[in-house]
Symmetry: D2
Subunit: 342 residues, 4 copies
C-alpha cells in the first residue's frame, strides 16, 4: 500500500484525493491546506482523513510515501524539494515548476535520491488522446500537416502565471504525445487587459520539421468555452471536440491532392478534392485521473519511470519559456535548444 499525503486541496486536489482513495494500491493519510474551510469541507465527505495546515507535517511524516503537490505553481519548487530531500516520491500538478532551472534541479535531486517525479498531465490518459494516438501511429492519418488546438473560456484566472502557463501545458503535452516530435522554434503573441502584467489571451505557433506546424490558442476572457483540436494529415483529418460528450472524435476522409502538370502548352496545377465519409469511433470513458493514479502507483510498485515524469514536465517548461520570451518580444521566433530525445 502506497501512503499518500496531499498538499493543496483547492480546485484539483479533491479530484486527486477521490481517485487515490478509490485506487486499491494507494491510501490517503493526510491532506494539507492553509484554508481550514477547504479542509473542513473535505472532511465532511471523508471523515477519516487527517487534515493539517502545515505542509511540513506531510513532508516530514514517516507514514507518507508519495507527496502530492496541488498548490499554485509558484510554490511547487520549494515544496517538491523538501519532499525529495525527505526521500518522498512526488506528484506535481501542471506546470511542473515556474522555471526550467527549478525543474532541472528537482530532476537531479530525484535521481540522486532515487525517487520518482510524476507530473499530472491528465489529458494523456484520456480515451480521446489514446484513440487519436492510435489513429496516428497506425498510419490512418498519413503524414501530419498541422495540429490546431483551441482552449478558451471565462476564467479561472491565475494569480502567479499567465494564460499560456495555465492552459497551454495541456495542449503542449497532448501535442508532444501525439506528434511524437519536438518543435524547432516557437512564435507567441498575446495581450493582457486586467491591470496586471499577465497575458489573458495568447497564441502560440510551434514549428516542426517537414512543414508540420502546430498552433495553440488559449484565452481566459472568452464568453464561450471551446476545447477543440483539429489535426490535418495527408490521408485523413480529424476533429476532437472535448465538450461533445457523444462524439468526441470525428475522422474525416477528406483531403486535397495537387499535381503539377507540365505540358507543352501550359504549366498549371491540377487540384483534386476528396470528400468521403466521416466516422466517430467509440471512445473509452474511464475517468482519466483514475488511470493517472493507477499508472503512478504501478510505476512506484514496479520501480519504473512514468510517461509523464520530470523530463516530460521539463520539456513542456522549455516550450513555455520560449513562448514567454517570444510573447515579451511581440512575436520573435525563439529556437528550442538541445533536449534529450522524447
Amino acid at each position: 500500500m502506497i501512503n499518500v499525503g496531499v498538499i493543496g486541496v483547492g480546485y484539483w486536489g479533491p479530484n486527486l484525493i477521490r481517485n487515490f482513495i478509490k485506487n486499491p494500491h494507494t491510501h490517503v493519510n493526510v491532506i494539507c491546506d492553509l484554508r481550514t474551510e477547504r479542509l473542513d469541507s473535505l472532511r465532511q465527505i471523508y471523515p477519516s482523513l487527517k487534515a493539517v495546515q502545515d505542509y511540513r507535517e506531510v513532508v516530514h511524516s514517516k507514514d507518507i510515501d508519495l507527496v502530492v503537490i496541488a498548490t499554485p505553481v509558484s510554490t511547487h519548487y520549494p515544496l517538491a524539494k523538501d519532499a525529495l530531500l525527505e526521500g518522498k516520491d512526488i506528484l506535481l500538478t501542471k506546470p511542473m515548476t515556474l522555471t526550467s532551472t527549478e525543474a532541472e534541479e528537482l530532476i537531479n535531486l530525484s535521481e540522486q535520491k532515487k525517487r520518482h517525479i510524476f507530473v499530472d498531465h491528465t489529458f494523456l490518459f484520456t480515451g480521446a488522446v489514446n484513440k487519436i494516438k492510435e489513429l496516428i501511429h497506425n498510419g490512418q492519418i498519413g503524414d501530419l500537416f498541422y495540429f490546431d488546438s483551441v482552449r478558451v473560456n471565462l476564467g479561472l484566472f491565475q494569480h502567479d502565471v499567465n494564460v499560456i502557463w495555465d492552459l497551454a501545458p495541456h495542449d503542449i503535452s497532448i501535442m508532444h504525445n501525439l506528434l511524437n516530435e519536438y518543435p524547432e522554434s516557437i512564435v507567441a503573441t498575446g495581450a493582457g487587459h486586467l491591470g496586471n502584467k499577465l497575458e489573458d489571451v495568447a497564441y502560440l505557433t510551434a514549428y516542426f520539421k517537414n512543414n508540420l506546424i502546430a498552433h495553440i490558442h488559449v484565452n481566459w476572457l472568452s464568453p464561450v468555452k471551446i476545447r477543440k483540436t483539429i489535426i490535418g494529415g495527408s490521408e485523413k483529418m480529424l476533429v476532437w471536440d472535448d465538450l461533445d460528450s457523444a462524439e468526441k472524435i470525428k475522422i474525416y476522409d477528406k483531403g486535397i491532392e495537387i499535381q503539377n502538370v507540365d505540358r507543352e502548352d501550359r504549366h498549371r496545377l491540377l487540384v483534386s478534392y476528396r470528400f468521403g465519409d466521416m466516422y466517430a469511433p467509440r471512445i473509452d470513458h474511464t475517468e482519466a485521473l483514475s488511470l493517472v493514479v493507477k499508472e503512478f502507483a504501478d510505476c512506484i510498485m514496479e520501480n519504473r519511470p512514468a510517461i509523464t515524469d520530470g523530463e516530460a514536465g521539463l520539456r513542456i517548461l522549455r516550450i513555455l519559456e520560449a513562448a514567454e520570451q517570444s510573447i515579451k518580444t511581440e512575436g520573435a521566433n525563439v529556437p528550442i535548444g538541445y533536449l534529450k530525445e522524447i
Copy 2:
C-alpha cells in the same frame, strides 16, 4: 441607368451578375470569360446577355460605364488599368491587386481620370457586421480587448495566392470596419503542404494600441467549415457564428474584474467574475451583395466615394504584405508604415 460589363464568371461573378440585374439602376450588357462553358451556362439563365471571350470587348466598349473584374487576383491590375484608361469605373473582387504598388498606381490613375474604384468587401454589408458595429460604436461592448476570427474549411484552393491572400481579406476588412483602428504591427506564421510554395494554413496576429490584439486563423485544409469571430470587451463579449442561420450573433454579459488590493498584511488580486444573460439580436437578412451593388450604384450616381474604395482596398493589401513578410521570416514582427487615416 449604369451599364455594367462583367469580366470573369467563375465562382463569384454570377452572384454579382444576378445582383446587378436585380438592381433598378444598373443593367448588365456583357459578360466575359475565357471558358465558353461558363458563358453558355449563364446564357441559359439569362438568354439576353451578350457574351464575349476577349476582355477588350468589355473594356473598350462605349456602352459600358462600370467594369466588374471578378478574375483571379493576378490579372486584376492589367485589366483594371486598361479599364481606367478607357475612362470606366471599376469594381474589383478582393483582394484588390497582387501588390500595394499596383494598387497605388490604380488609385493614382483613378484620381487622374476622376473614376471610381470599388472593392467588393461584401462582408461589410452584412446584417451581422452592421449589428456588431452598432454594438461597438454605441459603447455596449466597452473597451475592446481582442478580436479573434477563424475562417477555415476544405478548399477552394487558389493557384496564384496563398490562404492569407485568399481568405484573410474578409477578416481584415471586417477588423478594420469594426475596430475602426489600424494595427501597428503584424506577426504571421503558417505552412504549406501541397508541393507548391503556397501556405494553406496560416495565423496572423495584429497588434493595436492599448493592448488591443487581433488574431486571424485561415486554413484551406480543415475538414470542417468554421466561420467564427469572438470579440472581447470590458463590458460585453460577443460571438459571431456566420454558419448559425438562426442566431448569428450572441452577446454575453460576462466579464472579469480585477482589483489590486494593497493591504498591510498582504498584496493580492481580487478577481470577480460577471456571468449574466446572453441575447441574440435579430439580424437583417438582406443579401449583402445586393447592398454592395446598391451602394456602388449610389456612389456613381451621387459621385461620392464608397466605404470600400481603392484606399480601403490598399489598407488591406498593406496588412497582407506585412503578413507575407512575417510568414516568410517565420514570425518576425513587421511594423505597418504610415497610412492615411481610416
Copy 3:
C-alpha cells in the same frame, strides 16, 4: 421537347420553373398567376417567358404538354381536371388534392385519357432519402422498430389546410418510401390557437404490422426550426438531421438485446447494450427538384408511371384523412381501409 405551362408562381412555382428551364428535355412556355407582381418579378429574370393571369390560357393552349399546378391545394382538383380533360399531363404539388374522392376522380380521368399524373414529393429524390433507403434495403438497419419525424418551425401558415395537410405529406411520403409498408391505423392529436379552425400543432402515430410504429410531429408555431428523423432498428439506428449541411445522416452501431433467462431460482431479463462507432456517409447533394423534373420528363418520354404518381399521392391522402378524422375525435384510432399494393 416537352412543353410546360406553370400555374401558380408563389413560393414553390419559381423553383419548379428554374429546374424545368435547366432540364434539356423540357421547355417552359408560359407561366400563370393571379398576381401580376409575381409574374413581373419572374420575367425580370426570364424575360422570354410568356406570362398570363387566366389559367385557361395554359390549360387550353395547344403548345403545352405538361401543366404544372403549384397553387393552393383547394384549387388543385378543378385545375387538374380541366387540364386532364384537355389531354395534358399534369404535375401537382403536395398534397395532391383536398380529398381522396377528388384524387380518385383525377386518377380515373387520367387513365381514361391515358395521361400522366405526377405529384411532387420532392424529398423522395434527395440524397438523404436515397441513402437511408439503401441502408434499410440492404439490411444494415435490421428489423425496423420505429420511425420518428419532427418537422417544426414558425410559419409558413396556410389558409386552406391545417399543419398536418401542409407539412406531414413530406414525412408520410418519406415514411412510405423508406418503410415500404402501409400503416394499419392512425392516431392523431393536435390543437389550433389562432382563431380559425386549423390545427397549428399536431402529432400523428401510424401503427404498422410487427410492432413497427411511426410518429410525426408537425408544428407551425415553433420558435426553432427542426427537421429531424430518427429510425431505430435491430442492428443499427440512424438520425437524419436535414438542417445539418455537413453530416445529414448519422448511423449508430447501437442497440439493446434482451434475453429471457428462466432458471430454477429466478426469472429475470438479461439486458446487454451495444455502444459502437458512428459514421456519417457522404450524401449526394444534387438538387432534388432537378431529379424530380428529370424523372417526370423521362416518364413522359418512356411512357411509364412515376414512383410518385396519382396512386402514390392518393395513398398519402388516405393517411391525411385518417389523421383528420382522428384529430377531430381527439385521438380515436382510425383504421386504414383496403388499398392497392405499394
Copy 4:
C-alpha cells in the same frame, strides 16, 4: 438532526446519500441493498456508514427518522408501508408506486400516522424549471399554446415498468408545475420491441382546457440523447435544452397573429409574423438534489407538506395510468377523473 436510512443504492441512491451527507440538518446512519458489492463500493468512500442487506434493519431501527426508498418501483409500496407503520417519514423515488390504489393507501396511512411522504421529482428544483416557471407566471410567455417535451436516449432499460413509467414522470411533474393545470384527458401510443411486454417507445398527448395541448415523447431506444422542451405562448416561445450546459433556456420573441378580415369583396385571413430577439437568461446551477434534500429537511423541521408530497406523486400516477390504458387500446382518449385541486 434528521437521521436518514437509505434503501437501494443502485443508480440514484448514491446521489441522495451524497446530498443527505452534505446537508447540515440530516445525517445518514445506514444504507441497505441486497447486493453487497454496491454497499462495499459506497463504504470505500464513506467508511463510517453502516451497511445492511435486510431492509427491516432500516425500517425498524429506532435511530432512523426518514426512510429513503430508492429501489425498483415495484417494491416501493411494501417498503413504504412498513416504514410508515413504523412511524417513519418516507422519501420515494419516482414514480411513487405501481398503482394509484397503492399510492392512496400510503397517503391515507401517512395522514393517520401524521408522517410525511416525499416524492423525489428532482427536476422541479432545477434552476431551469424555476426560471421557466417565473417567466410563465409573470406573464412573459402570454397565454400558453403548447408544451412539447422529448426525453430519449439509449437505456437504462427498466425491468418492471415501461418507458412511460420510467421517463415520463419527469415530464409530467414538470408539466404540472409549469402549466399549473391538470389535463382533462390523455391519448397515448407506443410499441415494444424487445421480446417482453414493455413499451420502449411511447408518445403521450395531454389535452387541457382552452386549446392548451401537451405532448411527451419518451424512448429507450434512441441512438442520441435528447432532453428538449418547447413551450409556445401568445407572447413568447421558449426552448429548454437540458443538455446545453451554457444556454439551457432560450426565449424567443416570435409569434404569429391572425386577423379575420371580412370585407365586401372577400373573406380572408391576414397573417403577421413577429421575429424578434432571442435571449438566454442566466440559470442557477445549484445541484437540484441538494435543494430537494433541503426542502424535505425543512418540511420535517417546520412540519409542513412539500410541494412534491404524496398527493403530487398520486396526480402523476393518474396520468400514467390513463396513458397505460390508452396505450393498451392503441390511442383511445382516456379522461382524467376528479382530483383534488393542484
